[in-house]
Each structure stands twice: as C-alpha cells, then as structure tokens.
C-alpha cells in the first residue's frame, strides 16, 4: 500500500531516485498540501522539497498535492483513519479546532527542544499566528498565508481621470471612484465594472475584511462564540449589498471566485479584491498596468489573514515527528519563505523573509509584493470556530441570501447567528 501511494504520488522522479538510494535508516514523511488559487504552485513545492532532501539525505518527503483546502483535510484525515502514514500536512489555518477535537495534531511547543528552535517559533508575524494558537499553545505554523488585497487597473484609473497612484482608501472613496470607473454602452449595458468582490467560494473570508473595516470581529479567540448579528456586522453586509444595488459599481448578485481573476485580466472590472496568492499569476498575465493596494477601510483598515498552516500529526513515531519538525522548520525558514513568496505571491511568514536578499531585491523592483505584509498590522484572524464547517456555511448562506436579495442583511445574519449559537452551545 505504502509503495502504491509512493508510485501514485506526484512527487516526481527526483524523490523516487532519492528513495532507492537512501540508506535503510532513512525516515519517510508523507505530507498533503492544498492549492486554492491555481497556477504552478505544485512545481514550487516540489522544488523546495527536493532542496530539503538534498540537504537531509536521511529524510524522504513525499509531498502530495491534494486539491483545495477542503480536499486536503479530507485526504489527510482519511489517511490517518485508514492507518496509512501521513506525518504532517499543510491544511487550512482555520481547521485548528476541528483537528484538535479529533486529537489529530500535536502542539509545536512540545516538539521544541532548544533555544534556537524556540527562537524560530517566535519568528513569525503575530497576526499570522492568531489562527494557529489555542489554549496558549501553537498548533499550526504559517506557510502559504495570504491576506485579501485590492488589485486595480491603473490604465482604467487614468482613463477615468483618477490618479493611478491613489487607489481608494475609504468606503466612500471606494464607492465614488468605483462609479467613475463603470463604463456603459449606448444601451446602458455595463461594459466595465468598477469593482468586484467575490461572493462564492469563500464569501465569509471577504466578509471578514468588511467587518474588520467596520471595527468588528466575527468570533472570539476560543471559537466558541460568534457575533454575526451585531449592528456593525449587519452594517458591513449592507455596505456590500449597496455596492451592487445602490452604487451600481459591482454586478448585482453573486460574483464567482473561480473566474474573477480572469474577469480582471480581461479588463471587465477595474478593481478586484482577491487573495495575494494570485499576485504572481496576475503579474505574469496582465496585459495592462496594474497596482496592488491595501483594502479600503471605514472605521479602520482591515483584512483577515487566510491560507494554510503546517500541522504535525500525533499518530507518528518520535523519530518521524523530529524529521517532520525539521522539515517544517526548513520550509518556513526566511530563505525558503522568501523564495516561496516570490514564486507565488503568498506572503513571507516572518520579518526575516523580507530581510533576505531575494525578497529585498524583489520588493524593490515590484513593490506590490510587500502590500500584504504592510497590511498585516491591520489584519485579524480568519473565521475559525468549533464546528467550523457548519458555522462557515451558515455565514456563507446568509451572505449569499442577502446579496441575491432573498433576505435583508439583518434577517440573514440574525438567522445565521441563531443557527451558529445553537450548534456551538455544546462548547
């Protein structure tokens, strides 16, 4: 079975060669990882794994691409339950409560043995650690992390008479500039939209940005309470509705997560809110001059962090845990994190990454690469609770019901809050 998994894996010839030449004392690690935004991220991961194996000939890492965040969790948990070995995985940072409830993961604090490792554990941006901590311990190490940023088409800004170096910084500006960016044909049909905020895929994530900008949070740190029906939260959803209904800068109804990047690249919208994970792809494919900026704010600036953390599974030998720990440390080291950030657009996970020559030089020639980092000071945790899947769905459904006009923002969110409260009463 193990052999079969190896053969089927996408890890490539390099690791198979490594496998056959390794000494019998070698430690085998299997890891699942997700890709949520497409692009050639698998190649980047494979390259980093190869480098690690070259430096550590006694450890073989079998990195398996496992679909989106949901798929990766399903596959990793299925592997654990079936008894086939997976020692670590990259999974959604917000899966932490579910994984702990399943007693599937170990805290990194328990694997740290010396001062240099302790220092490493404290080397990440605190905002990125929020979704990785619970009960005073660290369970997830940030790896492919992102925030939402605003991509905008500078050519369109110029054409509309706006300053391309001054993207909107407040909700009012966002709406008023958006109006100037909308272009209609003689029949009144919209040819070019002012902005698009995706409402499928991960609507709760986009909504996390709007609520933070309104100085609200969606849940407590323990993940036992949600605040969906607070007036500030309702107002945030009403603003989102207004962008389509009142201001007319965004299409009414749903905006698809999966095709939004193409909409932006095809110049159907002047602005899009999307994960920083798209940055490198947009950079490579945009045929126009584009900029990246922090999201606009209302009471304050804000965006949730997002993305995947490294987890180490409980069900593995001490030897394997040690090797897995070493691997995680390597993958999140400043050098590797900088390389990863440059290749993908995901952010460097600690200040160290931005002090490397790689990123220093890159940021100098391509300033958008630092926007996600600069936004971290305004960042909040991504929605993460117990029963995360259900709670997320309640909120997603409420957002979609409000945006499609089935319910008012208040009705939808009150409903979602009631449902979330009922399911969380056990915790």
């Amino acid at each position: 079975m193990k052999k079969l998994t190896k053969c089927l894996s996408t890890v490539g010839i390099a690791s198979i060669l490594g496998l056959s030449s390794a000494a019998s004392a070698a430690t085998d690690l299997t890891m699942y990882y997700p890709v949520a935004v497409g692009g050639s991220l698998t190649k980047v991961v494979d390259g980093m794994v190869d480098k690690f194996e070259a430096e550590n000939p006694d450890i073989n890492v079998n990195a398996i691409y496992a679909g989106n965040y949901n798929d990766a969790r399903v596959k990793a948990l299925a592997a654990l339950q079936s008894g086939s070995p997976a020692q670590l995985s990259v999974m959604f940072s917000i899966d932490i409560h579910a994984l702990r409830n399943l007693e599937a993961i170990v805290a990194f604090d328990d694997l740290v043995s010396n001062d240099s490792e302790k220092k490493w554990l404290n080397s990440f941006y605190p905002a990125l650690m929020e979704n990785g901590k619970a009960d005073g311990k660290t369970w997830g190490i940030p790896f492919q992390r992102s925030t939402i940023v605003m991509y905008y088409n500078k050519d369109m800004f110029r054409a509309a008479g706006l300053d391309p170096e001054k993207p909107p910084t407040t909700w009012e500006e966002f709406a008023s500039m958006g109006k100037k960016l909308v272009k209609k044909d003689s029949n009144g049909a919209v040819q070019q939209w002012g902005a698009m905020i995706p409402s499928t895929g991960y609507p709760y994530w986009m909504f996390g940005a709007l609520t933070k900008q309104n100085s609200e949070v969606l849940m407590n740190q323990e993940g036992t309470e949600t605040y969906f029906d607070k007036p500030g939260v309702v107002a945030a959803l009403e603003y989102w509705q207004d962008l389509g209904n009142k201001h007319g800068i965004m299409p009414k109804g749903m905006i698809e997560w999966g095709t939004l990047r193409q909409n932006f690249l095809d110049q159907k919208t002047a602005i899009m809110w999307h994960s920083t994970g798209n940055l490198t792809t947009v950079k490579n494919k945009a045929s126009f001059d584009f900029g990246v900026a922090k999201l606009p704010g209302n009471k304050e600036l804000g965006s949730p962090t997002g993305g995947g953390n490294f987890y180490i599974f409980k069900k593995s030998s001490a030897e394997e845990k040690k090797a897995a720990f070493k691997f995680v440390k390597f993958m999140t080291s400043s050098e590797q994190s900088a390389h990863w950030s440059k290749s993908t657009g995901y952010m460097g996970v600690g200040p160290g990454a931005y002090e490397t020559e790689t990123l220093k030089a890159y940021v100098k020639t391509f300033p958008p690469a630092a926007v996600a980092r600069d936004q971290l000071t305004h960042a909040t945790a991504e929605l993460s609770t117990h029963e995360a899947g259900r709670v997320r769905k309640y909120l997603d459904d409420a957002i979609q019901a409000a945006l499609t006009g089935q319910l008012s923002a208040k009705e939808a969110l009150t409903d979602a809050q009631k449902q979330a409260k009922s399911i969380l009463r056990r915790y």
Partner: protein, 290 residues
Amino acid sequence: MFSRFNLKAWLLLLPALSFLIAFTHWPTLKTIWRSFTWAKSDVAPSQFVGVENYQILVDDPIFWKVIENNFWYALGTVPTSIALAIIMALWVNSKIHCTSLLRLAFFTPTILPMITVANIWLFFYSPNIGLFNQLLGLVGIEGPNWLGDPDIALSSLMVMTVWKEAGFFMIFYLAALQTLSPDLFDAAKLEGASTWRIFRKITFPLLMPTTLFVLINAILNAFKLVDHLFILTKGGPNNESNLLLYYIYETAFSFLDSYYAATLTVVMLATLALIALVQIFVLDRRIHYR
C-alpha cells in the same frame, strides 16, 4: 444442498460475492446502524440515540431544500435528456452523410470527465466574460448571471447535465434501433403509415426495454452525479442549487459529522431503492419484450 455442483457454483460466485458484501452490503448495514448513533467527535465512543438523528433531519430546512431541488433536478433533466437521446439516435441512424462524425460529435460530452466539463462551463456561464452572455450581447440582450442568480442557478446546472447525458443515452438507443427488423418498417411504409405513426406505433414501443433501462440510469444519475457542483456553484447561492448527495458530502467532510451524514445517506438509499422498485415492478409489466 451441498452437492458437488452447488459447491462449485458457490466457489465460482465467491470472488464477486465477497467484493459485493465487503464494499456494498456491509457498508450499507454499517451506515444504517450509524444513523442511529452519535458521538461528540470521531475519536469519542459513539452511543445509541434511537431516531434522534432523524428528528434533526425532519427539522433541518436545508434537508428539505435539497430534496425539493433534487426533485426538480430529476424532473428537469431525465425526460429532456431521454427525448433528446431518442431524437439524436433516430437522426444518426438514418442514411445521411457523415453519420459517424455526427455520432462522435454527440458522444463527445460523455467522454469528457464531469469535472473537466464543469470547469469549461464555469467560463461559459460567467456573466461578463462568458460565452453565453457574449453571444447574447451580440443580439443586444444582457444575459443573466447564470450560476449566481438564485432563480436560475439550478436550471443552469440542468442544462449542462442534459448536454452531458443525452449523448450517453443516445448510444443505447442507437444500439437498440439497429437490432430492429427492417421488415416491420417496410411493411408499415407499404401500408402508407406516416413517419410519426411509425415512430409512435412501432419504433417507440419496441424501444421500451431500452427506455426503462435508460430511465433507471437517468434517475439514479440525477441523485448520484454531483461532481459539477464542486466546481460550478458549491450548492449556492444559499443552497438554491444544492443537491442531496452534495449535502451529504458537505456534512461528512466539511462539517465532519459522519453520523448525520449516515442519516442523510439512509434517506437517499431508501429513495433510490423505492424508485427502482416502482420502475421494475410497475413499468416492467407494461413493456413488450421479444
């Protein structure tokens, strides 16, 4: 009972039987048992809770929504794809040029995996850059938001499903048509019967066994095939295009609630079994087999 012949027969059946039991019947029984139990998490021991899960199900608005959706989905896709399949089969069975090319063209959607198809159609349906709305734009119509409008999201899924399925069913009809004796048609023509009359009185009745087979498969597929939901709508907006099997998937793998997922699965199994029974026992009697 244990004559030599019987023993040999059982031995021959054994491989297939053990697979069937291990991968179909045993999991089914386990699922049914699981639907009567509950535990706080997958690592905690489960306890018997009677029909509590079913009470939750009755009170679950999303459950009723997906049942309703599945009903409309089956009603919208099954008759249409069967009718289209018959029309296409009759067409490619007639003596016109390039029939093999035409057959291939109709069959192509079937060859493609559902996930691939969905990824392509995702861009067809996209409101601003999509093929459909660009075509509509040419004639001056502002197309809808196919997958994002709660009123038409499910219909959009149906259209794609019909496109995908009709070609597959066509193959069965084509095979059946080619076994029909030409004598019957020659005789009918000699009597001066119209084309429509020939179809209604001869072709269609003779195709009934195929229709039953296709009907069962089409209805099963309406419940079983949800691959496209993962790509196209994820059941949204607000469950307007959610289907039972996708909801089971969400419950089991996103909510990590295998007990409620088992309960939903039992409902689905019961529904499918019931449909199959009705089809086999009621419709079968009214079908002419040679």
